[in-house]
Symmetry: C2
Subunit: 342 residues, 2 copies
Amino acid sequence: MYTRQKDIAKKTGFSINTISLALRGSSRISEETRNIINQVAEELNYIPNDVAVSLVKRKTKTIGVILTEVANPILTYTAQQIEQCLAAKGYTMVLMTTRHNQANEAKALDLLIARRVDGILMYPVMPWNLDKIVSLRKTNHPVILLGFGEYSSPVDAVYVDKAKGAFKAVEHLARLGHKEIVFINDGAAGASEKLKGYKAALEEWGLRYEPELIIKPNGFGYENGYNAAARIFEKKRPTAIFASMDYLALGALRWCIKNGLDVPGDVAIVGSDDIEAARFSEVPLTTVNYPVGKVTLQATDLLFKLLSSNSKLDSIEPQKIIIEPNLVIRESCGAKMKKDSL
Amino acid sequence: MYTRQKDIAKKTGFSINTISLALRGSSRISEETRNIINQVAEELNYIPNDVAVSLVKRKTKTIGVILTEVANPILTYTAQQIEQCLAAKGYTMVLMTTRHNQANEAKALDLLIARRVDGILMYPVMPWNLDKIVSLRKTNHPVILLGFGEYSSPVDAVYVDKAKGAFKAVEHLARLGHKEIVFINDGAAGASEKLKGYKAALEEWGLRYEPELIIKPNGFGYENGYNAAARIFEKKRPTAIFASMDYLALGALRWCIKNGLDVPGDVAIVGSDDIEAARFSEVPLTTVNYPVGKVTLQATDLLFKLLSSNSKLDSIEPQKIIIEPNLVIRESCGAKMKKDSL
DNA sequence: TTGAAAGCGCTAACAC
DNA sequence: GTGTTAGCGCTTTCAA
């Protein structure tokens, strides 16, 4: 079915070894024979067998990428960026998703190791339970963790400083003069850090922290944000809302408008993540972004650094790279005029 | 670094072959020795080397997936679905993106073939230039094309009937009483089929086809839809708009609202693709969906059918599977009352 | 400049 | 039941 070097050898009369060298452009082979060999290879439609190469080289030029899902636009974009980075270096990506299930994650890791990927980039399901990753590191398997929050275990990781993001959002609102800033905080990974940032910003601006202003939605969706807003305005009249996810913010935005509140006139809203829908909502949403590009770039860089180092992983200190998010200012916070947009 | 079967053999005193069989649970090996071997394997932390297995079995249990990009939500979702389907069958996915560039596509194909993937699923960059795929098929490489439009070449493919989708959209508008239905039609793959569907629906409802109602935007984005709407209303007062992509529809929607037109009261709007933003727009968008689940399921099914058939690909007729899209009715067309939603 | 031999880690066919 | 041998397609010494 496939042409092998052996076939070219037979046809040209050279040894397999010569074929192998010639095809790889070795200067140890005379140009003349190299030409002959290349030509015959072409004729026979020779396609190298990377599987065999991987076996002898003990390198697959493949990186495993494990995501919790890919519906999340941030992860989607991450996957895309990673693929590009890897392709540029001649590497290939095996993509697996865990659907937030730890058993799937374990299976994925095992499979990737069995396939002998050279390294792994992953968003862990449970950022607080990283034993497996730690032990993989001990057996010299490079795994870089990406993420939304801090990792305390001794692992290599690149993540976004969520506390800083929340701080920036709340500070921005405080600077605009808001005194009562609601925080719709989902319970997902990073929730406590976001809260930390929220509190820090309040303190910085001399505002009192009021627990009633913290509201926990019943989920991560649009509807949950809508309902959360309904709950808030039942008893309070805050002038600003910061939400830990854009969908929550968008849901709250919808509730406000539906109930005759002007955004940002009556209430300013800031979300988190900068998903696409944030840009196209009825009032374009100001939001804390997640710098996907930086994260993936740093992560792949770190990975390749580990791959090219010839010392044992065990002898290298785990590295943590922290990325700072930025505030994307649109209309929903009142800092920018409506006229600017379409 | 890695434990090999040889190491287990040495430690237990059995031959490599016995180890191999035992680890695969062969009944030819006595339970006793199997237990011993498994235990030692565990002790030594044995992890099979799939690369070696692939080499001898001439099967990699890997499927290559080539997408034009992954930012497009449809493709994202596709990638996710495919990964799931493949994982369920013990297959793994190598994902590559072409960024709509034919050279990248060719490179990706070559690489995947060199890696000896068992099959390929792909969204081609140029649906009308499929020579490479055709010749791959001749050399027994199963490639299933997914897509947005028809493929005329002799290839295996699963695609959505765009003409039917356009027909459904326009018919719906006609049924609601609209006489002047604008068609914002991007020039991408499938444009002519969509036009066919548009015309067919008009004819079915006894409406005249007016070329001035067909408008070609200057791109695929939100702004292009906005500008297209501006151009339309300069000279016409249509009551309905059908757009070949949701972004175009969303942009048109924004223009209408900004210019004091009520949607759907004054003008009804229908988009295509059912991207997420369609659900969360200021007026939730009625749109023709793209049944990703069905497409991927059929595509993987077809692929596995080809993989399990032991006759040469050349002797099997190329198969084309056509999927019919559905109309997702929301508020922007006026068929559903606003009260229903948040 | 080219070739011979060994080996990457595993499975398969056959023998015992 | 278990071992022996050969081989998957390639690279890598080492020799000529």
